[in-house]
């Protein structure tokens, strides 16, 4: 029972973390068919920005700083969409990839100048500074906060995409943008909003994860690999698939660490290859047209 609880909490914590980070990536791909490698940059900027806003001792300020980071990074995303991405929609995927890769490198160098090379930390905000013990297994209470935020983000995105006019338009712009434009919808503005939302989600992820980790140059590069694996496994563009992919990677990483520690870092790639071999479009993704 003890081992099961430990594994369960570890899985949920890992999955929640990965889902928050990956949600924006898959949203942007779902609406715009752009694989945004600079997503990791938005994540890193959210994390750095929250350290600037609240300092090392976060306290209550953390809770207003998190949405502030999401909004600020969303605004940066809007600028990027207007200045760069808009010019790439007609381009090949490879061109888009190279462009976002270039953005990632530019943002990385800019971050070095803004925040330096050293590591930064933020303490966990109240009331999540302690630990919780269940069935003899003790884990940080902030893990609960991250899991809850992940669920809220998932439900919120699902509701937005399926229950709102904006969500309907986002889905419509993928399948038939000309028809949507004919209805009077400003598709340019819509795509700017979607990209800003994706960037904002990345910024939110960086800010919310900050108390759990160290913030330093390079986290953009590390996270984009994990986020990309999660979204590919789940199916690019599928929010539910991303959640499933995050859980799958969480399970693989947790069980891999427990039963094959020397191979733990390899297990997620094995899962990636296995899923792509069976369903090249991901677990819940749509087959290519």
């Amino acid at each position: 029972m003890h081992a099961f609880v430990v594994d369960l909490v570890s899985t949920l914590s890992t999955a929640g973390y990965l889902f928050i980070v990956s949600a924006g990536l898959t949203l942007v791909f779902g609406a715009m068919r752009v694989i945004n490698l600079a997503h990791g940059s938005f994540y890193m900027y959210g994390a750095f920005l929250v350290t600037t806003l609240v300092g090392a001792s976060s306290g209550a300020r953390f809770w207003w700083a998190v949405p502030a980071c999401a909004v600020a990074i969303g605004a940066v995303g809007a600028v990027v969409e207007l200045g760069v991405m808009r010019r790439l929609y007609r381009s090949e995927h490879l061109t888009q990839l190279l462009a976002t890769f270039g953005l990632l490198l530019i943002f990385a160098d800019l971050a070095l100048r803004l925040w330096g090379t050293g590591a930064r930390t933020v303490s966990s905000p109240s009331p999540f500074q302690g630990r919780i013990t269940i069935a003899g297994a003790t884990f940080p209470s902030y893990d609960i906060a991250i899991t809850v935020v992940a669920v809220l983000v998932g439900v919120g995105l699902w509701a937005m995409l399926t229950r709102t006019v904006v969500g309907w338009r986002i889905r419509a712009v993928v399948s038939d943008p000309e028809a949507l434009a004919a209805t009077g919808t400003n598709t340019h503005l819509l795509l700017t909003v979607v990209f800003a939302l994706g960037a904002g989600l990345a910024g939110l992820a960086g800010a919310i994860v900050a108390p759990q980790t160290s913030i330093a140059p390079g986290i953009d590069q590390a996270i984009i690999v994990s986020a990309f694996i999660v979204t590919v496994i789940g199916g690019l563009g599928s929010i539910a698939g991303t959640a499933l992919g995050a859980v799958l990677i969480g399970v693989a990483q947790t069980l891999g660490t427990r039963y094959a520690p020397n191979w733990a870092s390899t297990v997620i790639y094995v899962v990636l290859i296995a899923v792509l071999a069976v369903r090249p479009w991901g677990l819940l993704g749509a087959a290519e047209r």
């Binding site: 490698l37 990385a108 303490s123 884990f139 980790t213 160290s214 690999v225 870092s265 290519e288």
Partner: protein, 430 residues
């Protein structure tokens, strides 16, 4: 406007994405410049020459190290130490009357990039000595190049024992405790703390440095006849941000001690997450808790845990005013990497003066077996393997901030493991 629809090439594109994402750590951000003496790697023409010193009133040395990404702090502060040493040399009239210029570049933690940069510095900029890098993997690639061109290479951060090849490479010098010396020093300190049967877990980055350091620590424990039981061993990827599953495995094994070979932001990350799991309540962690890590941790610094450091300025009175001078110039106290970088440059400059020549062969010969005056005092360079006879420092993290620096450092006195105690026999590195 239109949005491109998915094409059959999507899979290829996604594969490229994965490759690009994975290659991010291996890419770009080009060479960076410096000053007098620093300059950027030039595009000037010139045939490769391993022995001809730079023309005119100056000579050029190079430093290709990591200036971006997760371990940028190590590379940048180390480079600052090299820069300051060169500036101090030039302020005193240079070396053999010539101004020393420095070319530097970002290796992006990529062996191929680092090797290319070193080759460019030697062939295009006529660098007559090289310093750096952070990663031992990059160092091994760069060493191939410097050896090929017979240019002295001074390692001051990367510390893999394999770099020295048992002294077979005439031109390689190591001014940093190697991967056997460091864990041996920790074990020497640790054995005085640990009494009776104990349980130990290990945690280290999943590459050669991590595995070698853990192996060195375990071997030292066996050599010292410590009564221990290994309860868990985890090797998370370097720079992994999410280490929950690895950490829970460690926490669940309830060790008395965790030997952690992580460093920099990875160690900060581990400590924060381990603290949130309550690991430090019953477990002591042994890790590279240097000044930068302790400053970053702030209130989450784990008092009572054991730190090790290759050159802690606060425990080295022989440095004199160097820490303050360094801080005045670069805004913070010198890291261990800065101190070792400064020392390595001093070693090269001393050898040039001793040989009365910039000839790489003469410099290398002068340095082997010599005793060199440095800011750390007189350092002897072993003739057999070119390892500088320097100590490793170990201590227990204090409960209160040091009033001089506002950071929780180590309790006094700090243990300085003598080189003679932790040095493997010459030739053991081959």
């Amino acid at each position: 406007m239109t949005v491109p629809t998915l094409k059959p090439r999507l899979l290829a594109a996604t594969a490229v994405t994965a490759a690009l994402a994975l290659a991010v750590t291996a890419c770009s951000s080009s060479a960076k410049s410096t000053s007098p003496g620093t300059t950027s790697p030039s595009a000037s023409s010139g045939s490769p020459s391993s022995s001809a010193p730079s023309s005119g009133g100056s000579v050029t040395v190079g430093d290709s190290t990591t200036l971006s990404g997760a371990i940028a702090q190590l590379g940048q502060t180390g480079l600052d130490g090299v820069k300051m040493a060169i500036a101090d040399l030039n302020a005193k009239g240079g070396v053999l009357g010539k101004t020393v210029k420095l070319v530097s570049a970002d290796d992006n933690i990529t062996p191929a990039t680092g090797a290319t940069e070193v080759r460019t510095m030697i062939t295009q900029d006529h660098a007559i000595a090289m310093f750096g890098p952070v990663s031992s993997a990059v160092a091994a690639a760069q060493e191939q190049v410097t050896n090929q061109y017979s240019i002295p290479m001074f390692f001051y951060t990367s510390n893999d024992m394999g770099l020295m090849r048992g002294g077979a490479n005439k031109y390689a010098f190591q001014f940093v405790p190697n991967t056997t010396m460091e864990p041996s020093a920790v074990a020497d300190y640790f054995v005085k703390q640990a009494h009776g049967p104990i349980t130990i877990a290990t945690f280290a980055p999943d590459y050669s440095f991590g595995h070698d350091t853990v192996s060195g620590f375990i071997a030292a424990l066996q050599r010292l006849h410590v009564n221990y039981r290994l309860v868990a061993q985890e090797f998370p990827p370097l720079s992994a941000t999410n280490i929950t599953s690895y950490l829970t495995a460690i926490v669940d094994s309830h060790p008395d001690y965790v030997f952690n070979a992580q460093f920099g932001s990875d160690l900060v990350n581990f400590t924060k997450q381990a603290s949130s799991f309550g690991l430090f309540q019953k477990t002591k962690v042994i890790a590279m808790y240097d000044y930068n890590v302790l400053a970053a941790l702030g209130s989450t610094t784990p008092a009572g845990s054991i730190g090790f450091d290759r050159a802690p300025f606060w425990a080295m009175p022989e440095l004199g005013n160097f820490p303050q001078t360094f801080k005045a110039k670069y805004g913070d106290y010198p890291s261990e990497w800065a101190i070792m970088g400064y020392t390595a440059v001093q070693g090269w400059a001393w050898a040039v003066e001793k040989a009365n020549s910039f000839s790489p062969s003469a410099v290398a010969s002068a340095l082997a077996g010599a005793t060199v005056p440095t800011i750390r005092g007189n350092l002897t360079i072993q003739a057999c393997d070119h390892q500088a006879e320097i100590p490793e420092y170990v201590g227990t993290i204090a409960a209160q901030p040091d009033p001089r620096y506002g950071v929780r450092l180590w309790n006094q006195p700090v243990f300085s493991a003598p080189f003679s105690d932790i040095n493997p026999p010459c030739g053991a590195s081959s």
